[in-house]
């Protein structure tokens, strides 16, 4: 006999089709074609127990994974004032303006964004401790992109 693939597929398809078309709470469903048979049973009304395997899942639809929550309160971010290339240091090889753990004060320069060959200072707007450098040195940044995370205070 030829391959079973199409037959299984067909039985499956017809079982799902049947369940969809007739609607209503089916209790038990069995489709047999020659050697191929598909049988499903749903819990009796009242049955608690483990969740019924969703046909929807079988059908390939998965719920999107929950997104990670953003970090919590009292966190500020230093954003890029323009699109350009971000530099953490005044010049190549020099130490960075700020590093993780440093305290910054409002107005303190924390980096440079170069746009159209102009060097534009980036300043902290609030006081706080630098908890993370979020943008790569010498990398492209967009307007408003987060450059540093600060813990305020």
């Amino acid at each position: 006999m030829a391959d079973h693939g199409d037959l299984i597929e067909s039985v499956y398809r017809h079982a799902v089709g049947f369940a969809n078309e007739v609607g209503g709470p089916i209790r038990r469903l069995k489709v047999t074609v020659g050697e191929v048979s598909l049988e499903a049973e749903w819990p009796a009304p009242g049955d608690p127990g483990p969740p019924v395997p969703h046909l929807a899942d079988l059908n390939g639809h998965h719920a999107p994974a929950p997104r990670p929550e953003p970090p919590t309160a009292a966190v500020a971010v230093v954003q890029s004032p323009m699109v350009g290339t971000f530099y953490r240091s005044p010049e190549p090889g020099a130490p960075p303006f700020v590093k993780e753990g440093d305290m910054v004060t409002p107005g303190q320069q924390v980096g440079i964004v170069e746009a159209m060959k102009m060097m534009n200072p980036v300043q902290a707007a609030t006081a706080g401790r630098v908890t993370k450098a979020l943008a790569e040195d010498a990398g492209a940044v967009e307007y408003g992109q987060a450059l540093f995370a600060l813990e305020e205070g």
Binding site: Y12, R13, V16, G17, E21, A56, N59, G60, H61
Partner: protein
């Protein structure tokens, strides 16, 4: 022109017909089953009548309910769309008896062309090449064996009442004929309630080509060029295009002129499509005539500028189309893709469900024929066609690129919903399709691979 038309259909074609009626100032009456309450045609039509429950047999296929709705609303004519009652000679006859204009060929033509074997006999008599075959029902396995010897193998045994790729079986060698004959009969009986079958030469690898005609009652017959619908799965079309790739204009014209002559000879009336297999040797064999507007009519509209539904209404109301053959110029190339609620990864399993996010393509030279709306539930009772995306371009390569762009814009999602969009994109990218060298076997080969 009619004051009012009842649209005896659902889904995208009901909305399509309603759009043209509105443009022509015709009052439109929608009918719908209780599964289609939320369909936009129910809101956009001037009136809407719920004619039955979800099952098509008790609503869209139930002639008395449709006719009753027509009477209650004072409709003058009925547009049947495609499928359902569109090629039903009895329904067309009932319309006539009830004093309603059936927008389609007269019942006699529907009866003649609806009998597949008789249709082929008649077409053959009208000078159209058809495949070697019996063109009449075969009553015994012995008779089948005798006939097969004259036809030559491979042979396909087909239900007289057939359609949609069902009720048929293939015999590649004489030894397989008896089985194929028995199987086709059983299946024909089971599916159509009519066990009669006939024999025909089976064409293994072919292009599917068709010619759109428009015929008046006065013997005026126009053609609107040829389409290629070779991208099919289980004989259901997925991608349609015009002109036919690789077919020289001269050959296409010759085919179209043959069809026009045959349509005139058999007294065809209305919009219709003559379907052909184009074999490896470059010969066209007519396989059937579709006596209605087709799903793929937009590609013809895009290269001709002719509104085919408008012309159907013109023929039905005045006896002739509002245009002549001279008005029809075939310009550029057009492609249509069917966005179905089906899961190509699971053998095109229908995937009805609720549409949560919906973006259909737009922009230059892009047409959409749809009936879906965000939040709408797609009922599981009917055809899975959600929307048709059609594009036009000066040539086929640009049209393919445009269709790829358009499909990339499509977002149709929601719990349970899967669509053919991604699959269509992969077909467009297939080298055989690109080269216009694909046959109706393309998708089967793709799926195996």
């Amino acid at each position: 022109m009619f004051d009012s038309v009842l649209i005896a259909n659902r889904g995208e074609i009901a909305l399509r017909v309603a759009r043209t009626c509105k443009e022509m100032g015709i009052r439109t009456i929608a009918v719908y089953s209780s599964a289609d309450e939320g369909s936009p045609v129910v809101r956009l039509a001037d009136e809407a009548v719920r004619i039955g429950p979800p099952q098509a047999k008790r609503s869209y296929l139930y002639a008395p309910a449709v006719l009753q709705a027509a009477h209650q609303t004072g409709a003058q004519a009925i547009h049947p769309g495609y499928g359902f009652l569109s090629e039903d000679a009895d329904f067309a006859e009932m319309c006539r008896a009830e004093g309603l204009t059936f927008i389609g060929p007269p019942p006699e033509i529907l009866a003649m062309l609806g009998d597949k074997a008789e249709a082929l006999r008649v077409l053959s008599g009208a000078g159209i090449d058809v495949l070697p075959g019996t063109h009449r029902p075969i009553a015994t396995a012995g008779e089948a064996a005798d006939a097969a010897a004259g036809i030559g193998f491979p042979i396909i045994v087909k239900a007289l009442a057939g359609g949609g790729g069902r009720g048929m079986a293939i015999a590649r060698r004489p030894a397989e004929l008896a089985d194929a004959y028995a199987q086709a009969r059983t299946s024909a009986q089971a599916v159509f309630g009519d066990e009669r079958v006939y024999l025909e030469r089976y064409v293994e690898s072919a292009r599917h080509v068709e010619v759109q005609v428009l015929a008046g009652t006065d013997g005026q017959v126009l053609h609107l060029g040829a389409r290629d619908c070779s991208v099919q799965r289980r004989r259901q079309k997925l991608i349609e295009e015009t002109p036919v790739p690789g077919l020289p204009e001269r050959d296409a014209n010759r085919l179209c002129e043959q069809v026009v002559a045959a349509a005139r000879a058999i007294g065809y009336v209305g919009a219709g499509t003559f379907e052909f297999l184009l074999d490896d040797a470059g010969r066209f064999h007519c396989i059937e005539v579709n006596c209605r507007i087709q799903v793929e009519h937009p590609v013809t509209e895009m290269i001709t500028g002719v509104d085919l539904v408008r012309e159907q209404l013109n023929v039905a109301a005045t006896g002739g189309p509002g245009i002549t053959q001279q008005d029809i110029r075939l310009n550029g190339a057009a492609i249509e893709c069917r966005i179905n609620a089906e899961d190509p990864a699971r053998g095109f399993l229908p995937s009805p469900g609720t549409i949560e996010a919906l973006t259909l393509p737009a922009g230059p030279f892009t047409r959409v024929d749809e009936y879906v709306r965000p939040g709408m539930s797609i009922p599981p009772f009917y055809d899975p066609l959600l929307a048709k995306v059609s594009v036009w371009a000066p040539d086929r390569d640009q049209a393919i690129a445009r269709m790829e762009r358009a499909l990339a814009e499509c977002v149709v999602s929601g719990p349970g919903i899967r669509t053919t969009t991604g699959f269509l994109t992969s077909v467009l990218a297939h080298p055989l399709f690109r080269d216009g060298k694909h046959t109706t076997a393309l998708i089967e080969n793709l799926s195996v691979a």
